[in-house]
Symmetry: D2
Subunit: 391 residues, 4 copies
């Protein structure tokens, strides 16, 4: 048996998320990076690849060349899947090209520039026997999986309320806009109709739905663009209703000075509640009214299968963001191997964020932006919204 | 010089908040409880007073009797102020009677049953030379005062966002309604138009305004009554706008299973932010994007005058809720003494929550309930709302 | 029924611990301060008393005058017990005089200047029908009582290890010695043979024994005097053995820069362990190897009787140091009332630190100092040590 | 340029630390595992290698075969360094063989079975041009490096006290001894003269010296073997003196029920102090007496070069144990590359734990055991102790 072979589009020198994807893919020794189109500048792509110890001939000038060339290589040499780590507006064309060439896709989120694209992507996928995953990283934490498990087992009773928040401060001032990371995120052409909700709000929404097992059906949104001249939102609050009648609250910010990556999830049932924070991801609180709060810790005591498989170190040796990220890749590798063996298996079975998650994410973003523009309080979440015009 | 003499209405045996007021008033040895109408049952009032070592003749059958009798006592024997610790619907008539008899008033919150009553109270106060205070307890914490001070000094820059939350779980189930505390709070006739917002949301709103120095001008509210048959809200979210253009978010709950008295305030400026939680009230976080977070602790280093005066023990000897509560009384005692000395001085000067705070609180409650009933997203906060009909 | 009448020796204007005792005694409205010898300067004593609203005639020039004069007052007017809040060297003569006059005593700790004195005090007490209590304040916290209860119930199994620490930083530099608090504590004539161990180490030792129910039998101590010219220790570590064979570790410091009053207790059994910290006294951790840690919180769920009686506010309204201190007084008041009713009852029954605790404390201090001076590793803890010579 | 080629001895299927080393080595894509002698059982070695996607011919039956065979391969194919991840008693013979064959060595700790062996190893190393590193993992955390930097810069002033602790509970009961991890650690023939001090106490000692820059010179130790029939210690306390006159305290336990990998370091200077805990490794507290505590966070603000290079993700995306471990490897790779380029460079320069650390570690372990056996309080730490007899 051999490692699974990965190609990458984007992630050249100086990029941030590409390096993260590579470390996540490397960690478990299951994946080998074999090729890349790391930059739109061909020389930069070669240089980036060289720094990753790739042979020059597999560092391509662009993704079209890469897919074409790799498809010509022998089956057990060529790239098996591509990791897409570019700005948002390129996710769709790259994913489309990869799928049509028969390569599996692991895409950074949000899935596409808008809802329309992701719906098209879904129909393309329906016609090809390839796998598609999305890096909703936070799902990868062991205790997030344990939380999902406990809820499924009914530990909380009926869910009555969810509060999910994701606050960052890195775009708090005008001068913060100059970084490479900031500039494309604030550019509607590259980022889409939302900055804050598209970049992090969508993570929060996905996390809430993933863990709770219930879905957002209605929302009331208020977005803010805090800095003069900024085309997109950098802060927002969304009151939501869930499919089971529960109420919820999602708020996110990129101008919350002093907040790092403060993603926090609180789910209240009619029996118990739970609380998890990305800043201390190895602790999950399970609370009730008349019993001591239980401090569930990664690796302590019996965990569900999914949490166990997502845990690499003994209790008290903290597992972090890269391990969570690696868990997305690890599950995807298992799914690819199963697929290779002719087993027909869904993302859900392998616990890999799917095209359905991708659609819900894009719908969330667009519906939030629409709600923000409306003076009506409530809006039903539609998965078939017309593409919005970016103003 | 003598201690300041306090009477009490409400707070008989078995009551909760009356005992809290008495401990808060006792702590510093500045106040002497001299009389009370502790219960509407005359014998119970006498028994309650006896347990407090009061002579039988100063344990009255009702507040009217108490005010009448006390007014006949020599000036330096009679009660100087009354603490009102009854359910909400009695606050107004008792306060009115006390003021008209010339007694100062320290009222539990919310000030009255509705906005209309508090506006009437304001006009009564305007005609009498008596002092009026309101126990917005959380203002009494030393670090809340330090937070206010730091913001006033410009430490945060311009405030751009406030998140304030107050979650409790004690009303999470139907069976929780049977307690004495719960039954009147869920009865519109005794509690007013809101349970959750009237009981704790108003504390959160007051705290946010007190610390930040800016005021809520618009709101978009969504309230929930989680249990079938419950006449009033037990959970709610309010998106707000502040007088300086900042956005905000206030959420409160009485059905958040496992939450104790989880009052937390986060204020974000364009330079720095701060975070304070009642559950660990002796720590105030001062955060920025590129400097270490500062962990300000009660009693460590130089504090503002107001915080110093609110601090009784050396750093590391935790000060709690009763001390915060006592600080409200301590400031009120100073105000009463100044008043006695003929100094004309405002609540603001003595840092005692005032009739203006009372009005803003009642307006907040009623406006939130109105917004909840509307399908319009935004509503301007009006201080002159028509009294609402309780449904 | 009337309040219990307290006199005070020490605690004049500018003093620290006297004010703490008064607030603790006031909080519950069970005790009335009726007289005091607040200062060795008669005018200062009167002024201090006046600020406490005491009549001039009950502000005495010294404790001898006070005991004499109070003893002449009618039984139901005169002081019933005296709170001794002076520097250590005065504890013994004042307690002796009070006891011999028939007044109950609540003494600040450590009980006396040395072990010899406290043994004498014990024999004096044996001859008089008066009560004696000692303010080992930290015993007063609700969760300390709950911890003791859980251990007694066998929750931890057999205790195998105890780690107790108490770190402060306030004497870290030479210039810190100038304060009133520091100067007498560092003066062997007023403080005794130890500064750090006498002031706070003894609290740690008492807390460990109180909660665990086992006693220190052997110790190996290393003390340090960090600043040149300092006559007494300001830091120390003591390895200990307990009566049941468990090992332990006690360390304390007054030069631990940045530490406030960092008293922390960890008790390990062969089944479970627990952890409590004074800095966050409303949380008690109950830990085991394969179950989630339980976060026991003041007021949440069912507590033992002693913890319940020590709790004043609902869960989530933090109780602090003054409340813990007040619990010592509250139990002493109950003991005094029982005594008045002719019930013969021990400190242990009323959960008030006793003369036996006082003796163990003084023995701990002296044995630690002796062990420090020895090159032998282990020393048995003797309760009959010869009085040490202060060097 | 190519990846650096690693071989491994030990770490076959079912082993724990081998997998950790492999993930740490993989993370950054700088190291390629090319061969291994994973088990003393040849078939198991091959199976283990196959699961790691290694060709059968490079899965060796034992380390001698591996070193012999690899040495015969072309220079740019053969293993460059070996990771030794066996039980302690095999560290020395494997390291010796590797060094004598010219392979660099990365050894798990403790370096050898006893001090004598490590001194021999030092003399062997002196005769060969190979590099030697030791996985004192905790040195790899970004904030540990920042702490070291701040101290070197004088931020704390003169160090006066160090408290370092490392508590685990996994050996708390007799039945815990049956695991593979436990059985060899409790066997003096495989583990050496100490279990607790050899396994984790030595980490604590190394961390304290690494961060503070001062060295242990004297110690007073008390070790315990808590379970009947256990040949080695499972708990211990060591009072220490440091080279600059500072006092210190090191305690470690494997029977501290409910503790995970509770490694915590507190260093007190005469100006400031710092506190770091492995359980939350992305926070470093910098404390002083009169200023707010500074909460230094991984990736926030300006960090020293070493900390920056040890940080992979943006602030608020927690970095954990594997990342710390990977940092040891990453620095070793840099050192190997420099060595390959003919640059003569020390471990210290590349921040890789060295043979000197190895010697100090073994000396610490043996001296602690000797001190424990002595009734003298203090013992000077000797780096030339006679090998101890295991009883």
């Amino acid at each position: 048996m051999k490692k699974v072979r990965m190609g990458m589009v984007g992630g050249g020198q100086g990029a941030f998320i590409g390096a993260i994807h590579r470390m996540a893919a490397s960690l478990d020794g299951q994946i080998e990076l074999v090729c890349g189109a790391f930059s739109s500048d061909p020389q930069r792509s070669i240089d980036s690849g060289a720094a990753l110890y790739l042979p020059e001939e597999r560092c391509y000038a662009n993704y079209e060349d890469m897919f074409t060339a790799e498809a010509l290589l022998p089956v057990n040499e060529r790239m098996e899947f591509v990791a897409i780590v570019t700005p948002n507006h390129l996710h769709f064309p790259i994913a489309k090209a990869a799928i049509e060439r028969g390569f599996h896709v692991m895409s950074d989120k949000p899935a596409t520039l808008n809802l329309s694209e992701v719906l098209t992507l879904e129909s393309i996928l329906a016609k090809h026997d390839v796998l598609y995953g999305l890096t909703h990283t936070y799902n990868g934490y062991p205790l997030v999986k344990q939380a999902k498990h406990l809820i499924k087992q009914g530990e909380l009773g009926n869910i009555v309320k969810i509060v999910v928040e994701y606050s960052q401060g890195w775009l708090a001032s005008k001068s913060d806009e100059n970084s490479k990371q900031a500039s494309w995120r604030l550019d509607p052409k590259k980022s889409g109709v939302s900055c804050c909700m598209g970049d992090i709000g969508v993570h929060a929404a996905n996390l809430a739905e993933y863990v709770s097992g219930i879905q957002i059906t209605h929302l009331c949104a208020d977005l803010t663009s805090s800095i003069i001249g900024r085309a997109l939102d950098d802060d927002g609050t969304v009151i939501v209703k869930f499919s089971n009648g529960a109420k919820g609250l999602l708020f996110a910010s990129q101008i919350a000075v002093g907040d790092e990556n403060n993603l926090k999830l609180r789910i209240y049932g009619d029996k118990k509640s739970m609380e998890w924070s990305q800043l201390e991801p190895n602790t999950l609180l399970l609370k009730s009214n008349n019993e001591p709060t239980q401090l569930i810790r990664t690796g302590v005591g019996e965990m569900c299968e999914a949490a166990q498989q997502a845990t690499r170190t003994p209790a008290g040796h903290p597992e972090g963001y890269l391990e969570a990220f690696a868990n997305i890749y690890l599950n995807f590798v298992k799914q690819i191997r199963a697929h290779k063996n002719g087993v027909d298996c869904s993302n859900q079975e392998f616990d890999v964020p799917s095209i359905e998650d991708a659609i819900r994410g894009m719908a969330f973003i667009e519906n939030v932006v629409q709600s923000n523009q409306s003076n009506e309080k409530w809006q039903a979440l539609s998965l078939n919204t017309q593409p919005m015009e970016v103003k």
